[in-house]
């Protein structure tokens, strides 16, 4: 490792623009003649549009145009799609309702777009949007997924067969039943995985521009995957042909999954620009973000785990209902199936697993991938079950886990995944040591003397990242391949531009990707720049999600670097009159191994471009591209330990210690990796203690649609974290990386809840464990009296 290479704690090159206010986010973009869009949205969770009257609004100052779903349909703009086909266990395809970018006949959730106003200023657009008159016929709203699939429930989509989207299963139910028949002990649990709102700090925004002169379209948008946006907008939504559409995702202020999807607003801005003849910008406000960004999680689950007489896990069965909201969002169908049930083996050698998932429509905001996407839900089921079982069996939670850890690799689970590497005991040991687990009883006793209930909980998670081998996901229903592309352009002076299909919106690619390149040729980090987020610059890309940028995106870069290195060596061998196999490149020099014959790196690069003296038949230039398709998922894993103190008088939980020990494979920049874990833990703690997305059960109104009502984790809700890594190298990709972006959000919720249930002595508590819920649980368990 050099001072700036792989493994070095390099400060970020992207920081300067952000700390000086020079970042360029979508809402920062302006164009001459630019107008502003404001959306008219449904105030009802379920209602038929009887009539839209835009007359008065159209006469208001500054109004350029008002467009509805009628014009959208007339222009042939297609409905939103779901890109992953899931078949029910009876082989029928998923039950997809029509999702127009602007509702034409019926609105099915509060906030659904019904019309758009384009006006000269932000304020004028808003005023006119408020003046659009809509006559509604309210319909009964269904909020509860169980009610949605109850006998006689009203259909949310007239054209869909029922509110059940699919009834899917995985695993061998006969083997599981046999295991339960011979079990010495069965642990059962009922869980709700609470619905969350992603809340990237930058609200979504889009600026669409149609250039009639060249018949060309450009859209700046808050996207994690601009190429996917271009593909979907052209191939499915018919907004613009792909070769005439440029999608730019400039600086993006956080995504967490919510900016993967191609939303109505960016489609409409681009379409409206052509319709009105002016560039059209829309910037969501926070209320719109709450109402229209795809939400996350929202599962109701019953799970049972069977053990034999010595605490060995012999079977797991899980039954989950997943609330999809009113429409199927872009990747929604994959989240509670192939990103969830395939992880239910966790870190354990479970011989038999069966999982049934029913996906359901309700009159709520669509639900899709949010940091972790399916894997936090799987980890929550498994790790609450295991901790509960340990208590029932009278074993220590660590011991029960150790007894069941997978210890040899590769390991084929009963639910598709083939784990390639790992050392679960190492992360468990590291976490227990860092947490001083053995010292807990003394700390608990000391807390009790202060009238506080102290608890400790752990969670050993696994996730599947580096999504994913294209042929494998294709066979499971994915509409796209999940490779990544890269291009390495070496300039005549030896500096290098890397173009990547991964997108960085906080992940630090501009630094970490450059570290890998700098190390390869021994050149300064400052001589490498990383470009991303512009479909006119980067040839293609599948984008950033599922902790894939390192394992897949960087692997594509490494593949391109291999080609650059091979060509540079060929040129150098020719110039130095040596055999190609004897050339080595390091420390910015290209030398004949074991001799003093050498050229500077930039001399070889220059020679490639002058073309004066190249090997016969070799093309000039030094620029290579690569596509990398992974051979397997990667399997980051780790152990999280949370210690809490609860005030029995108020029910308030304070996290007094949080420890994370993660195995991410090879780490490029430990500082960046730690930052990813910190942020993930905060989101996981938010889910466990604070964040609840609440709908009024009668009206379907989103009650928590602002920061007044939705409890975001603040600095004083959290402690400083103790994070560390253990390392087993991933054998599946050239750098041995596994991915680190989602781990924190996956591993932490069960650790927090296990600590709380340990403290209060009852398992009956759901997330978020608010003071009120904890207080009531303490009252119910009788611990309050004991503490007083």
């Amino acid at each position: 490792m050099g001072v700036e290479g792989i493994g070095a704690r390099v400060l970020r090159t992207e920081d300067r623009r952000f700390i000086t206010g020079k970042g360029k986010y979508t809402d920062d973009m302006t164009m001459p003649g630019m107008a502003y869009a404001a959306f008219v949205r449904s105030p009802h969770a379920h209602a038929r549009i009887v009539r839209i009257d835009t007359g008065a609004a159209a006469r208001m100052p500054g109004v350029i145009g008002i467009l509805t779903g009628k014009e959208l349909a007339a222009d042939g703009i297609g409905n939103l799609i779901c890109g992953w086909m899931i078949h029910s266990k009876d082989k029928t395809p998923m039950n997809m309702g029509q999702y127009p970018a602007i509702a034409t006949e019926t609105a099915r959730f509060v906030g659904q777009a019904v019309a758009v106003v384009v006006a000269e200023t932000r304020g004028e657009a808003r005023d006119a949007a408020d003046a659009v008159e809509i006559e509604w016929e309210e319909l009964p709203a269904i909020i509860d997924p169980l009610q949605a699939i109850a006998e006689g429930a009203r259909q949310i989509h007239e054209n869909a067969k029922s509110n059940l989207i699919y009834d899917w299963e995985i695993g061998d139910s006969a083997a599981v039943e046999a295991a339960f028949q011979r079990a010495a002990h069965v642990t059962r649990i009922d869980l709700v995985n609470n619905r969350l709102v992603p809340n990237a700090m930058e609200p979504r925004a889009a600026l669409g521009y149609y250039d009639a002169g060249s018949d060309h379209y450009t859209v700046w948008t808050t996207s994690q995957n601009p190429h996917v946006a271009r593909l979907v907008m052209s191939a499915f939504y018919n907004v613009a042909p792909e070769h005439k559409l440029r999608v730019i995702a400039p600086d993006v202020g956080g995504g967490f999954g919510s900016k993967i999807f191609i939303y109505p607003e960016e489609i409409v801005c681009l379409w409206a620009s052509k319709r009105t003849g002016v560039p059209v910008k829309w910037t969501g406000d926070r209320s719109e973000a709450f109402q229209t960004d795809a939400h996350g999680r929202d599962h109701v689950t019953h799970a049972e785990m069977a053990f034999d007489g010595d605490g060995t896990m012999i079977g797991l069965k899980v039954d989950t209902i997943a609330n999809f909201g009113a429409y199927m969002s872009l990747f929604s169908s994959a989240v509670p199936t192939y990103l969830y049930a395939t992880l239910l083996s966790g870190q354990y050698a479970l011989p038999a697993i069966h999982c049934n998932v029913r996906a359901v429509y309700t009159n709520t905001t669509p639900v899709d991938a949010y940091r972790g996407a399916g894997r936090p839900e799987a980890t929550y089921v498994l790790e609450r079950l295991v901790e509960t079982a340990a208590r029932e069996l009278g074993m220590s939670p660590a011991e029960l886990r150790r007894r069941n850890f997978i210890r040899s690799f590769p390991h084929q689970t009963p639910v598709i995944m083939n784990y390639d590497s790992g050392d679960y005991e190492a992360s468990l040991d590291a976490a227990m040591k860092a947490a001083d687990y053995d010292g807990f009883p003394a700390r608990k006793a000391e807390a009790a003397r202060r009238g506080r209930l102290r608890g400790i909980g752990m969670s050993c998670y696994i996730e599947a990242c580096g999504i994913a081998p294209s042929a494998a996901v294709g066979s499971l229903g994915s509409g796209v391949g999940l490779w990544e592309s890269a291009e390495v352009r070496v300039n005549p002076v030896g500096t290098i531009e890397v173009l990547t299909g991964s997108h960085s919106h906080g992940q630090s690619h501009e630094t970490t990707f450059a570290q890998v390149v700098a190390e390869r040729f021994g050149i300064p980090l400052a001589n490498v720049s990383v470009l991303h987020g512009d479909t006119d610059k980067v040839q293609f890309g599948m984008g950033t999600y599922g902790s894939r940028s390192g394992a897949v995106g960087l692997s594509a870069i490494v593949k391109a670097l291999d080609k650059v290195e091979a060509k540079a060596k060929r040129i150098a061998a020719h110039l130095l009159e040596a055999a190609e196999g004897d050339i080595e490149i390091r420390d910015g020099e290209v030398r004949v191994a074991g001799t003093d014959r050498k050229l500077a790196w930039h001399e070889v690069c220059l020679a490639a471009y002058t073309g004066h003296n190249l090997p016969p038949g070799l093309e000039p230039g030094l620029k290579e591209g690569a596509f990398y398709d992974p051979t397997n998922f990667t399997f980051p894993a780790g152990c999280y330990i949370c210690e809490v103190e609860i005030d029995p008088a108020t029910g308030r939980t304070a996290i007094v210690q949080f420890v994370a020990a993660d195995d991410f494979g090879r780490v490029i920049n430990p500082m960046v990796v730690e930052g990813q874990v910190h942020g993930g833990i905060a989101q996981g703690v938010g889910q466990a203690l604070l964040e609840a997305c609440v709908y009024d059960r009668d009206t379907g109104q989103l009650v928590t649609a602002s920061y007044n009502d939705y409890a975001m984790p603040r600095a004083d809700d959290l402690p400083s974290f103790k994070v560390s890594t253990t390392e087993t190298i991933c054998p599946g990709n050239p750098l041995g990386m596994k991915g680190c972006g989602e781990a924190g959000a996956i591993g932490s919720p069960p650790a927090v809840i296990n600590a709380i249930t340990d403290a209060i002595g009852t398992n009956e508590i759901d997330m978020p464990a608010t003071p009120e819920k904890v207080w009531r649980a303490i009252r119910a368990s009788g611990l309050a009296e004991a503490a007083e």
């Binding site: 992207e14 020079k22 304020g123 700090m201 600086d251 930052g675 905060a682 603040r714 600095a715």
Partner: protein, 164 residues
């Protein structure tokens, strides 16, 4: 319409704007200083914090007309040319930012916090004082570290200045 005259980062600016124009939109839309961000509509996230007459304010909660005559410092005006303010430098040094969106407001709040406490800060105080700034990326861990480090640096600089 209102005529708004302000000194922004040492430069005098004057514009005719709609009466309802917020200070943040005045800065972003009318004079092109887009470093100040809008992250919510209820004055809670703090992405829009600037200094008005030496005090940190949420510029989404101040009308431009209200601020007229005042002196505004935004994130763009914090560094002295190429030299970063100690809080900016500390955010970079301690990886106190990821996506960068909340960062301008965080830094402007932190500068104000350090000034109000005369650099005498501890972790608990910093966490409490950050109540009005939301970050979704960092879990606050490195932001807290950065602010404590910057407070130390600024204290030392003050002591050095006093000694000279």
């Amino acid at each position: 319409m209102s005529r708004v005259e302000l000194t922004v980062n040492g430069r005098s600016v004057a514009r005719e704007v709609e009466d309802r124009t917020l200070l943040v939109h005045f800065l972003r839309d009318h004079i092109g200083l887009t470093g100040t961000h809008v992250g919510c509509d209820t004055s809670q996230c703090g992405a829009c914090v600037v200094h008005l007459d030496g005090r940190a304010v949420k510029s989404c909660t101040v009308l431009a007309a209200q601020a007229s005559g005042g002196e505004v410092v935004t994130i763009e005006g914090l560094a002295a040319g190429e030299d970063l303010h100690p809080v900016q430098a500390a955010f970079r040094e301690h990886h106190g930012l990821q996506c960068g969106y909340c960062t301008p407001g965080m830094i402007m709040s932190a500068v104000d916090m350090i000034r109000r406490y005369d650099g005498q800060l501890d972790e608990k105080t910093v966490r409490h004082e950050l109540e009005g700034n939301i970050c979704r990326c960092t879990g606050y861990h490195n932001i807290v570290k950065a602010i404590l480090a910057a407070a130390g640096t600024m204290r030392q600089e003050d002591m050095r200045a006093a000694a000279e």
